[in-house]
Amino acid sequence: MSQSATTRSAAAAPAPGRRRLDLFALLVRFQSVIGLIVVAIGGVIFSPRRHGLILFLAPDNMANIVRAVSETGIIAVGMTFVIITAGIDLSVGALLSLSSVLTATIMTTAGWGLIPTVLFVVACGAAFGAVQGTISNRFRLEPFIVTLAGLQVARGLALVISNNQYINISYGNGPGLAPPVFAILGDRLFDNTVPVATLVFVVVAAIATFVLNFTRFGRYVFAVGGNERAARLSGVPVTAVKISVYAITGLVSAIAGVVHAGQFNFGSANDGTGYELTAIAAVVIGGTSLFGGAGSMVGTVAGAVMLGALANVLQLNNINAALQLLATGAIIVLAAVLQSLVRRREGLGR
């Protein structure tokens, strides 16, 4: 190859088309953040007003939005890891319910104290997820099937343990009473503005963002989803990574379950239904590809908050629940279409 030919091809090739693609890709990359901004602006414009006060922006309303999304948001954060490996976890909602039942039961009967109880429940959640991941890997089963079964098992365990009753948590010092400090999960801090449940969400999301983007494990997650065979041949411990991500969803579902019990002061075998779908929706809207290998934690968080804000805006305007579902469905399709356009532009969607 002559020198001039080299320079020519290197310089001429990607220059003009590239920049446009980058802009478009950037837009898609932050689609959920942009979506969140759009929803917020819409919320302000269409918000009902009382005494000149924009109800959407009222501190109580804002706190409600971020509190309402905290449980599914925590789950969505874990789900992001799984989906980046091209997997799925349907057991998360049921596991939340099982964890809330476990938390309430242990607090009201065993009297282990706060920290041992929480650690135990969270460890159970992680173990549950790890078992699902192990089964899926060992027997080469689709995670869809394994976690669908996991959903039934977790729900069944919750029903057995709770005897299909609400397990109410009463606070105080003494047998059968939970430590009063646990009730803080239902409170708001900082001048009664920030719900504690939301703080848990923020902390979980911050840790997850860090792990996904700045650790070797995070890179492994992307590699496994991007091309499992290539990752394995490159020496990535693929099986361990695939089991770990399900342990992570199990762990965050248990955290969400503890938060749930603390917020509502009971454990119930019938809560958390459909949370898996809300979480998956948040992840997809956040720009993570169901094909694996690409995704963003910030996107997931924005996606989760956006779904909550959208529901809130529609509620404030007394728009019925059916329409909320339609709107959510339309947004999911839009997010998926944008992803597919990017793939096609990269010439990889043929």
């Binding site: 290197a10 090739a13 492994y220 991007g226 065979r229 020496g235 990269e346």
Partner: protein
């Protein structure tokens, strides 16, 4: 305009065809013509543009510019169905067969015979038997295609295409997977089809097949037509057109100093725990790769070249090695990928998109994949170290454009291949296993890859290369070992006579068939 000799009008004329993908100019104003009853060979190195040209003719891609005349009429095929409707049939390199369906169902896919709206299985089966016998193969039409060997699948694909090729039949490297006797049978069939007035475009990079089957040959290089010749033209002239320079400049000088053996196999045998059909396990392999040496693995399709490399790399599933398997003179346990990597092995697979690269991830993130433990010895990634390593690898292999942040799938085939090899080399292997290291790579990048591999060997790395391209093995390697049915059967020095090596590779086929 109405010329006196209508028969002289070519069946097909393509004029000034241009096509680019992203930044890569695949075709730059290509002219091509085909007559009725002619077998026209289309020769070119990988990446020369021959497949792209034929994909345009068969409606897979739309050209950026240029025109196509079929029997004097301007035509334009927007999709493969339109091309098929005009009697243009293609047998693609990636066979368009459904592995889970049986041979009969594949032959009639999309054109099923029905009676009163219901599939007419007996009629299809009968017709399938006829069609298979036309290509002279004994293939069970009730067998799922996935259970057939690659060579037999190829024949099914040919039988399928023949049924609607009324004008033009395009064959994209049909002989790549076939044994010598199957190739002969195929050539007979091709001549029969041509005699019926069909024009055949025969894509190949096997020079020696051209005079045996074709009438004319068009040679392509770097997206252009390098020349059109009668098929009987001297081979040296075709080589000059093909490569654009005398062949010996393509390959670097051979090793002068060899070190101690890195890999020693003596009657080594790998027994997989579960037998897989079509997977030729290494049965009895004896060979030595010394430090500084490039050893080639020759053999026909199915001889077990890829299988030997993957088994050495511990990537062949669970199983057991027996016989002598030594790395640096010490017994080595090569039964898991991490174990093999721990012994200092690195593998570049023959399928960079399927198993080599995270195709949607960036060049930089791909490059450091094998050395993440070095980039981040603790929990945290060191972005600085990562960036330094990937820039170093990009520079060493001259990846173009030299930007680690680009998505690797956007690079040309040659540059993707450089990234795959560079990724393994970053891991500092003692023994580098290369499987088809220049598949789908243009001549320029080929030369660069050869030079770099030789340079690495010069620094004391042992290299074991499997390739189906005999000139590549004989040009690049210090020694070539021939595999047959999973056994090493012969060994030749680099630069040996190609025909002798081929003969050794194919001998047993002729004995057993």
């Amino acid at each position: 305009m109405s010329g006196p000799v209508e028969t002289a009008a070519p069946l097909l004329v393509m004029r000034g065809v241009t096509k680019h993908f992203g930044g890569v100019q695949a075709l730059r104003g290509v002219d091509f013509d085909l007559k009725r009853g002619e077998i026209h060979a289309l020769l070119g190195e990988n990446g020369a543009g021959k497949s792209t040209l034929m994909n345009i003719l068969s409606g897979v891609f739309a050209p950026d510019d240029g025109e196509m005349l079929l029997e004097g009429q301007s035509v334009r095929f927007d999709d493969p169905r339109a091309a098929q409707g005009a009697g243009v049939a293609t047998i693609f390199q990636e066979l368009d067969l459904v592995p889970s369906l049986d041979v009969t169902a594949n032959l009639f896919l999309g054109r099923e015979l029905t009676r009163a709206g219901v599939l007419d299985r007996p009629a299809m089966r009968k017709e399938a038997l006829t069609r298979i016998s036309v290509v002279g193969a004994d293939i069970n039409v009730d067998q799922p295609v996935g259970e057939l060997s690659v060579g037999r699948r190829q024949i099914v694909a040919i039988a399928k295409a023949l049924t609607y090729a009324s004008n033009i039949l395009i064959m994209d490297e049909p002989t790549a997977a076939l044994t010598a006797s199957e190739v002969e049978r195929l050539f007979v069939v091709m001549r029969e089809i041509a005699a019926r007035g069909v024009g055949i475009v025969y894509i190949s990079h096997r020079l020696e097949e051209v005079p045996r089957v074709a009438d004319r040959v068009t040679v392509m290089r770097d997206g252009q037509v390098a020349g059109v010749q009668p098929a009987k033209a001297p081979q040296s002239e075709l080589v000059r057109l093909l490569v654009g320079r005398p062949l010996d400049e393509l390959y670097p000088k051979r090793a002068t100093v060899l070190g101690k053996p890195v890999l020693t196999l003596e009657h080594a045998r790998f027994t997989p725990r579960t037998e897989r059909p079509g997977w030729q396990a290494p049965e009895d392999v004896s060979l030595i790769v010394r430090a500084g040496e490039i050893v080639g693995l020759a053999g026909i399709m199915g001889a077990g070249r890829t299988e030997l490399l993957t088994a050495l790399y511990g990537a062949a599933g669970s199983g057991k090695w027996s016989g002598v398997v030594q790395i640096d003179g010490e017994p080595a346990r090569l039964t898991s990928i991490r174990g093999a990597r721990g012994e200092g092995l690195g593998l570049v697979t023959d399928d960079r998109r399927g198993s080599g690269l995270l195709i949607r991830d960036t060049v930089g993130r791909n490059l450091v994949l094998t050395v993440l433990e070095r980039v981040s010895p603790g929990f945290l990634m060191s972005r600085a170290r990562e960036s330094a390593l990937s820039r170093e690898a990009i520079k060493a292999f001259d990846v173009r454009p030299p930007r680690p942040e680009i998505v690797v799938g956007a690079l040309s085939g040659g540059n993707q291949q450089k990234v795959v090899i560079a990724k393994e080399v970053l891991g500092d292997p003692r023994l580098l296993l290369l499987d088809e290291p220049t598949r789908g790579v243009d001549v320029g990048a080929k030369g660069e890859i050869y030079a770099r591999v030789r340079e690495l060997a010069g620094k004391g790395m042992g290299v074991l290369v499997a390739s189906s391209e005999m000139p590549e093995l004989l040009g690049l390697c210090d020694r070539v070992v021939v595999l047959r049915n999973g056994r090493t059967v012969a060994e030749f020095p680099g630069g040996a006579d190609e025909h002798q090596v081929l003969e050794a590779a194919e001998r047993s086929e002729d004995e057993t068939v």
